[in-house]
Symmetry: C2
Subunit: 320 residues, 2 copies
DNA sequence: CTGTTAGCGCCTTCAG
DNA sequence: CTGAAGGCGCTAACAG
């Protein structure tokens, strides 16, 4: 008990005893067992669970960094798990994290099934959805201005005169995919232009598939004059495709195809990409920080009883 | 007790009772408390601690991914903490992780002080050092072939005739910095060439400082004809500097400075960098996987009593 | 200022 | 096959 008191701050302990305890603790390398500690009612575990699709994607890595920065200031640590876009893995991970007594969860959800995060599965653990949302979910969420960003970018392409604009997107079950496509379509509607249906390719999961999809479109009869790449993996593939083709063209003394590219999400070296491009830029680190703050406001009670909140972070259009 | 038995696999429970328990468990969303579970002697916590400098660096993010891939197969989860290259933070993080009963640690150490990871601070928790080592540490380690890689690259530069080769490196207290510089020097020695002392810049912590260091060197009287960039952050800065200068030169109708660049660590888009470069390539994901395997071999007892092991992963030289 | 009691949720051991 | 006892490490509440 005396040791416990010393470690809790040393109140109501005779200075001599306190010093003695401190010395012995450091000599023995004693560490109090945080798990046993959090077993007692009213004690928090100090763990925040983060479920993302893939830490190898720099986008999510930066998000993790944002969350880590904010929660580490409150002495909490983050438990990281990868869902690999697999709803079943997502469910297991959730259950595991709840079992490990996480105080809160920051999640990039895989699908749209609200049952995964139903209240009885969450066991009262507050949840913040990040980057993607689940329409029917009853949770705080931080999103990017997907719709407005895609809308603005597409409007620019249309006003530049492009009529054959390709849309390369990810799975439509992912809310970012839906929302970015919605913005793309809305801009067409607004300008009274019919989107080129044959140029809308969805379900692209990685850079490699985006690259071959792009090649295929450019090899078609009526190739696009502009491309909207709906996320950073897709942009990567598109840039690879365009750059390879430009190299080949130059080697054969042809003029390279000029394709106007708009990319959602920025990435390192966007400013020195081998092809000209415009970017719908935003900060995944800020997204992580905001998500963490929403979560903390549920934990410290400052958002007591509030309705689910939705924050949309702004985007910036940048030309390179 | 019966519920505990059902959750442990349902041995020695009447099927009817088992089914009933299972139904009620899923109805109520009951999760067994993993922390309480690990309180019992002989039970493992299922947590692995990862201490890295910065998750936002794609290099470390990929390392985390490698570790996650391997340990998640054993049902374990990873606790991630950032040290921000701060030895004090590193110590606190270590203590926190040990207190949270991590079963093992994968660490990219900040400095060279072996006291940080002294046995009494580790409390018998196995430690694997990754990417960097501490010479005096008594722990398993996975490194890249820093010395050989830097040696080979420098030898190539020297045989190409370069005599003014700049070395842009990070802090010399970091083992990768030491080792890569050692390889650089060894190649010079081997060829009987004196390294250009005025071109060796150390202590570069980020891309921005590397960029300005590069600019400064190129503006000097006796500018380097080749550059060795000792890690991915530094390469980024150097590429930015070179590319900016090339753009400016072209705008002024001058020939851009031709600087031969060798970069340690690869990065996305290395193959389409705006300046020609060669890369000492290796796979941080593989580094993470290997570190995790070393750790697991300590946990399952298969490396029982073995001396600390040191694994050096090979590098590949790639021209772009 | 210091120590005792009790109970957090779990599972090993033993009794029925 | 099922349940009761006990203890893992910790700290709130109470006693001294």
């Amino acid at each position: 008990m005396t040791v416990s008191r010393v470690l809790a701050g040393g109140k109501n302990v005779r200075p001599a005893v306190r010093e003695h305890v401190e010395r012995v603790v450091s000599e023995l390398g004693y560490h109090r067992n945080e798990n046993a500690r959090s077993l007692r009612p009213g004690q928090r575990s100090g763990l925040i669970g983060m479920m993302i699709t893939n830490i190898g994607n720099p986008y999510y890595a930066e998000m993790v960094q944002g969350v880590e920065q904010v929660v580490s200031r409150t002495g909490r640590r983050i438990l990281v798990g990868a869902t690999n876009e697999d709803p079943q893995l997502e469910g297991q991970l959730l259950s595991d994290f709840v079992g490990r007594q996480v105080e809160g969860l920051v999640v990039v959800p895989v699908g749209q099934d609200p049952a995964v995060f139903a209240p009885e599965r969450l066991n009262r653990v507050p949840l913040v959805l990040a980057s993607r949302t689940i329409d029917a979910a009853n949770a705080d969420a931080v999103l990017i201005s997907d719709i407005a960003g895609a809308h603005d970018a597409t409007r620019i392409l249309l006003t530049e005169g492009h009529r054959r604009i390709a849309f390369l997107g990810n799975k439509i079950t992912v809310s970012t995919g839906q929302r970015r496509l919605a913005g793309f379509r809305a801009a067409h509607d607004e300008q009274g232009v019919e989107p080129a249906g044959d140029l809308i390719v969805l379900g692209l999961q990685d850079a490699a598939s985006a690259q071959s999809a792009m090649d295929e479109l450019l090899d078609g009869d009526d190739a696009p004059t502009a491309v909207f790449a709906a996320n950073n993996r897709i942009s990567t593939g598109v840039i690879r495709a365009l750059s390879r083709r430009a190299d080949r063209a130059r080697a054969e003394c042809r003029d390279p195809e000029a394709v106007r590219l708009f990319a959602f999400d920025s990435f390192e070296f966007a400013d020195m990409a081998p092809v000209p491009l415009s970017v719908i830029d935003h900060d995944p680190r800020e997204l992580g920080r905001t998500a963490a703050q929403l979560l903390l406001s549920r934990l410290d009670g400052s958002a007591e009883g509030q309705e689910p909140r939705l924050i949309e972070l702004p985007v910036t259009l940048v030309d390179h």
